[in-house]
């Protein structure tokens, strides 16, 4: 009797862990282990002796934090970060602004062809980033672009979109074109979740559609705005597809244009897996810091507002 009771209590205690086990194993295998391996690689380096030819001339040794100090003092990584910052300053406000605007317009009562419009705005998101960048790259090249053909025929100035400041606009445009639809759907979905009584009450109080949008809809979808902002920051820091695809088309995009491109170049272009691992860890850490910092700040504000 006693023993069965003990066994049963033991079984009950163990149950949650048993249920957690599959998730835990998957997390360890496909998340913790690869990250741990990257960290391990980042703490090591290759040491060559002499000419480095023949067997045994190349050894992997402990590097400590050397790869990290190298990465943090690398001017290319810093200027890459600044370039991406500039790019993000264009992409994030424009994309989210447009997404919010489209969502509000689709949610308004007088809209026609809503399902079609929704799909049309969302569709670019379904196009793979590399394909989108290729497509736009074609349109940006003066010699093959139909836009330039039209500008030429009209006698208008033809800006070089693949150089200097306009390059940022050209890259941002690809991201905005591809990302607006997704963010719009997220915001639109949460607009749909607002109960109709709220609008009814507002209308009875004499609120105009614009007032409803500004005073009711936007504050009520704030959580999804926070979410889309959070996603956008991460996507910006990790920008890789667009500049990599445009790189062969112009001299203005270097192989280290964005931090992630530098990681790729160092790992697969120059064969420095260890240095690249250190940079990847730094970028991951910065992403975590930035995105969770933002989430916490946003949560705190919401709590304060709720308390008021």
């Amino acid at each position: 009797m006693k023993s069965t009771a003990r066994r049963r209590s033991y079984g009950v205690k163990g149950a949650p862990y048993a249920f957690l086990l599959p998730a835990g194993i998957l997390f360890a295998l496909f998340f913790a282990l690869p990250i741990g391996y990257a960290v391990w690689l980042s703490l090591r380096k290759v040491k060559v002796s002499g000419l480095g030819l023949g067997s045994g001339a190349r050894k992997e040794v402990w590097a400590g934090l050397e790869n990290y100090t190298d990465a943090l003092t690398d001017s290319e990584l810093v200027s890459g970060t600044l370039r991406v910052l500039g790019y993000g300053c264009i992409v994030v406000p424009v994309m989210l602004g447009l997404a919010l605007l489209f969502a509000l317009m689709l949610d308004s009562e007088k809209v026609r062809l809503a399902p079609f419009t929704r799909l049309a705005i969302f569709l670019p998101y379904a196009i793979p980033g590399v394909v989108a960048a290729l497509l736009w790259g074609f349109l940006y090249l003066p010699d093959v672009s139909p836009f330039y053909f039209v500008l030429d025929k009209l006698g208008l100035p033809q800006p070089d979109l693949l150089d200097g400041g306009p390059l940022y606009l050209a890259l941002s445009n690809i991201a905005v074109w591809g990302g607006t639809g997704f963010n719009m759907i997220v915001i639109y979905t949460s607009l749909q979740a607002i109960p109709a009584e709220v609008y009814e009450a507002a209308k009875l109080d004499g609120a105009t559609p614009l007032q409803i949008a500004l005073r009711i809809k936007i504050p009520m979808v704030a959580p999804s705005l926070v979410l889309t902002f959070f996603f956008s920051i991460i996507a910006t820091i990790q920008v890789f597809n667009e500049p990599t695809t445009l790189k062969p088309l112009t001299n203005s995009v270097s192989t280290t244009w964005s931090p992630l491109m530098k990681v790729y170049r160092d790992a697969f272009g120059e064969g420095d897996i260890h240095g690249a691992a250190a940079q990847a860890v730094i970028i991951a850490f910065a992403t975590l810091l930035l995105s969770f910092g933002f989430l916490r700040a946003a949560n705190r504000r919401q709590k304060q507002e709720a308390a008021r």
């Binding site: 290759v46 040491k47 480095g52 067997s55 010699d143 088309l249 192989t255 697969f268």
Partner: protein, 439 residues
């Protein structure tokens, strides 16, 4: 590292026991190196199109007799494959045979990924020009690969447009610059050619022609001379042309570049023997209007060219059947039947000297049907190829080239400074890795 030491033991054991059965107890690895007994199957990583058909000839012919079956695994070309081979080698799972560009060989050897097959392919040496063979030995007694194809540099130009603008085919680089200027005068919206910063191989080949030796060894030390006088001369020459606007500065292999060639906006191209293939797809409308001439020289008395591209077949240290793999590599690149098939199925220009003027190379490429002596001319040019000198971090030099020269071409600024950066970054990388580098 104990692992590396063990590996070294096993590898030397493999080398020692090739062909002998008595030492099989040494370990399972060395036991497997018994290639002559029992069927052997080999894996071959290559990017050459149509290679599977060439390998079929082996599997049905000499391979069947020797019970050596080769399986082709199609790969992406160039640098990506080097990374893939090194990653597979790290896990001890590299394929038996790999295709490798000449400039990648030192990197692969320095990672101990390639086996020394001097014993098995030694007699193949006579089939190749000395300058080509030397690239597979890295100046040592070892042989790390069998040359497959080469890419001697030549000068391609629009014969019709040269006539139309009254231009003569330049035989020296001074004349080349003059031709570019004359064209600008005659047709300001056209360019003789472009300086493209997106393929480092062309610049390396041009420097090679000028006599540059980027990596050399003396004793136990590397000497890096990317910014030597010869390369400096080449960089200044092209930088000057870009700066004065005599030629274009936009990259090659873009839709815009294709269009420029196809519409006659650019009327010449410094390229290698494989250019007909590229032109066929890039400029289909101008078929039959191009002609090929030797590369312009630095002085009228010289007759030299550099190379752009070209690759070899190598056997990896991970292969358990290195002797059989070497046998196949030698067959593939020296047997006349195999070379014929390579020319027909894959369109490669063979490294083997006598194949350059036989079989598929008796007739000019379809794109150059107007130039009947295309391949005999090409073979003469190939003979003048200057020796090359590759080092263990060509990849680093190449990526630095793309960024530094890309920026310089864009800003029309000093190419010499870009070259200095290429030298500095390459040396810094070697030192960081621990190579002995002489200053």
């Amino acid at each position: 590292m104990p692992y590396a030491k063990r590996r070294r033991l096993v590898t030397s054991a493999v080398a020692l026991t090739l062909g002998a059965t008595t030492l099989a107890a040494c370990g399972s690895d060395s036991g497997d190196s018994e290639t002559e007994s029992g069927p052997v199957s080999l894996t071959y990583w290559t990017w050459t199109p149509g290679m599977d058909k060439v390998v079929d000839l082996w599997n049905k012919g000499p391979g069947k007799k020797d019970q050596i079956t080769v399986t082709v695994k199609k790969q992406a070309s160039g640098d990506t494959l080097v990374t893939k081979i090194l990653t597979a080698h790290k896990a001890g799972k590299a394929p038996d045979l790999v295709q490798a560009e000449y400039q990648a060989l030192p990197t692969l050897v320095s990672n101990d990924a390639l086996a020394d097959i001097a014993k098995n392919v030694g007699e193949a040496k006579d089939s190749f020009a000395d300058g080509v063979w030397q690239q597979t030995t890295l100046g040592t007694d070892a042989v790390y690969a069998v040359p497959q194809d080469i890419g001697p540099l030549m000068f391609y130009y629009r014969e019709d447009l040269f006539k139309e603008y009254g231009l003569t085919v330049p035989t020296t680089w001074d004349e080349f610059a003059e031709t570019a200027r004359e064209l600008k005068k005659a047709a300001p919206d056209k360019d003789l050619t472009t300086f493209s910063a997106n393929d480092s191989g062309l610049f390396a080949g041009l420097a090679q022609q000028a006599g540059a030796k980027w990596w050399t060894t003396s004793g136990d030390q590397w000497k890096v001379a990317i910014d030597d006088a010869a390369t400096q001369k080449v960089a200044d020459f092209w930088g000057g042309l870009v700066e004065e606007g005599a030629i274009d500065n936009q990259p090659m292999y873009t839709p815009a570049w294709n269009k420029a060639l196809n519409t006659g906006k650019q009327i010449a191209w410094v390229s290698a023997v494989w250019a007909p293939g590229t032109l066929t797809t890039a400029a289909p409308a101008t078929k039959g209007k191009w002609a090929m001439a030797p590369l312009p020289q630095w002085s009228a008395s010289e007759n030299r060219t550099g190379s752009w591209g070209g690759s070899s077949t190598a056997v990896t240290t991970d292969s358990k059947h290195q002797e059989a793999a070497a046998k196949f590599a030698a067959w593939l690149n020296t047997d006349s039947k195999a070379l014929n098939a390579l020319a027909k199925e894959s369109g490669i220009y063979p490294a083997a000297t006598n194949a350059q003027t036989s079989g598929a190379f008796l007739k000019p490429p379809a794109y150059f049907a107007n130039q009947a002596d295309f391949y005999s001319k090409a073979a003469d040019i190939a003979e003048t190829t200057a020796p090359s000198a590759w080092g263990p971090n060509v990849n680093v030099a190449y990526t630095t080239f793309k960024d530094a020269f890309g920026a310089a071409a864009k800003n029309k600024s000093d190419f010499g400074a870009a070259l200095k950066k290429m030298q500095a970054d390459t040396v810094a990388d070697m030192k960081k890795q621990g190579f002995e580098v002489a200053e």
